[in-house]
């Protein structure tokens, strides 16, 4: 489909673009700028003082406590990315190449699981992972002895919840890039005598890298803000950045601190996004021009 060129005198363009652009400006970009400004304020007796002060930033950079938690958050995010991608890739591949008949039904089931209430689903995991829960009942039924699984209220519990809530994203991005893949390239590879496995590793996998990368980045960025999972399934034993932010707002009523921690997390996410974007953009077009 070709794009129509439109100028800003055209009322149709203004009507299509402006309402959404304004909403995003007033309720997304300005609040973001506001958050940055807030990090330079101070609080006194739970009230904001409008000044221009570096106090919060010196506090953040001088206390290793914050950085331990930030590092743990990034570490959890990386593990979550690795597991999610390993689960998502074969599933997306199977959906595009096998199971053609039930494709629609399976996708509806996956979309539904993604769309329903995250609090309820996370609570459901408590019932599954509890000492007297479904998983342990099943394991002892299979002969593993009573209470074989004791991962509720541990970082492993948190990780299960995070992968559960985020693995859908790379599934979609990988599925999309696999579905767009030109079948003829694969057939050409077969004609040239390559085996199915070799074709997968030399044709399919490299061509689906944009979906793989964008899915991985999505999981990483979104898992930086995981809050429900460490709270409900991790039992609060090893808090992540989200808990730190919540505490600075609710318990300590220190808004500049909360704002600054938010900005640190956003910066980590934005940096990752920028690096990944640079990587994908540099990599993908050059592939087309590569000599055979």
């Amino acid at each position: 489909m070709k794009s129509q060129r439109k100028t800003w005198n055209d009322p149709v363009l203004v009507a299509a673009v402006m309402p959404l652009a304004l909403v995003m400006l007033v309720f997304f970009l300005i609040p973001l700028a506001m958050t940055v400004v807030l990090t330079f304020q101070t609080t006194q007796y739970y009230r904001l003082n409008w000044t221009w002060d570096l106090k919060i930033w010196t506090e953040i950079f001088s206390k290793p406590h914050y950085w331990t938690i930030m590092l743990r958050t990034v570490g959890m995010a990386l593990i979550c990315v690795a597991i999610s991608v390993v689960i998502a890739y074969p599933a997306a591949y199977a959906l595009t190449t096998r199971l053609k008949t039930y494709n629609t039904q399976i996708q509806i089931l996956i979309i539904f699981a993604f769309l329903t209430d995250a609090v309820l689903k996370t609570f459901g995991w408590i019932l599954v992972l509890d000492r007297n829960g479904v998983a342990n009942w099943l394991l002892s039924y299979l002969g593993f002895g009573p209470e074989a699984l004791d991962i509720l209220f541990t970082p492993t519990g948190t990780m299960i919840g995070m992968v559960y809530n985020l693995a859908v994203y790379p599934m979609f991005t990988i599925y999309l890039s696999l579905a767009r893949l030109d079948r003829d390239l694969i057939l050409a590879s077969y004609d040239a005598g390559a085996s199915r496995i070799r074709t997968f590793f030399e044709v399919t996998l490299p061509l689906s890298k944009p979906g793989l990368y964008s899915g991985a980045v999505l999981v990483f960025v979104l898992s930086l803000g995981a809050f429900l999972e460490p709270k409900v399934l991790g039992g609060g034993t090893s808090p992540l950045a989200s808990e730190l932010i919540r505490q600075s707002f609710e318990t300590r009523v220190n808004w500049p601190l909360g704002a600054a921690l938010t900005i640190v997390l956003i910066a980590i996410g934005a940096l990752t996004l920028a690096l990944a974007a640079g990587f994908v953009f540099r990599r993908t077009p050059s592939r087309r021009g590569e000599p055979a």
């Binding site: 489909m1 009507a15 909403v23 995003m24 609040p31 309820l120």
Partner: protein, 278 residues
Amino acid sequence: MMSQRVKNAFVDTALVGTIVLLLIFFYAPIVTLVAFSFTSSRVLTFPIEGFSLEWYGELIAKPDFFPAVINSAIVAAVSTVIATVLGTAGAIAWIRYYFRFRTLFRIVTFAPLLFPQLLLGVVMLLWFSVLGNWLNFSAGLATVIIGHVVYITPFALVIVAVQVYGFDETLEDAARDAGANRWEVFREITFPLLWPGIFSAGIFAFLLSWGNFYVSYSLSGTDRTLPIFVYSGIAVGSSPIYPALATLNFIPALILVGLAEFMRRRALRRQNAAQPLS
């Protein structure tokens, strides 16, 4: 040759197995919740002791249950309408128009999708608090709705954009040649052809808003939506009323998702079939 066939059969089984395992993983908590909603015992241990519907009654009898349902319904209805309209207009601009600042527009309208919801909520909460101090208002349903619109519109935009992408613009040219004005072209051609995408974007928006915890948690003030009701409830102690609520939640949601996907896919198939051979 035989070994190759065995290898292929192995790969096939492994791939189908992945999907089966994935569905089990996705549905483990969901099926568990549904099963526990019918328990007769107060403690949530497996295996379930006996069958009863008493927890559904207990849930409905909770005094803060219906207010939460009403709040969730208001928030979901209003933000669905706004997000779907904004998303549709945005999707048309994204795909069909080429204009100055288009890249900027695309980045800004897509960015909330790349934002952890908790941070989105916090950032907006700070803004509303500062604004509320100046203009004298406090967080409540209105701020939740605004938060949901910012978070959900990009999803609606992407879904409608898929429909816009497959759109055959020669149909509009034909209508214009036949003497239709801009509004008539939109009403008679553009809108009906985009409708399946808009409809499923609407259902997505509704469910995302209905089940949203993070944004509401930051922005709802003292007004509780259903996910907040559940969150503060399970923080105090688990009870079989939450599985009962989950079951009541899941069944209509599954029907809605099925309906939306069915409509969208049928329309996309038709569109592909109607595409002229080039």
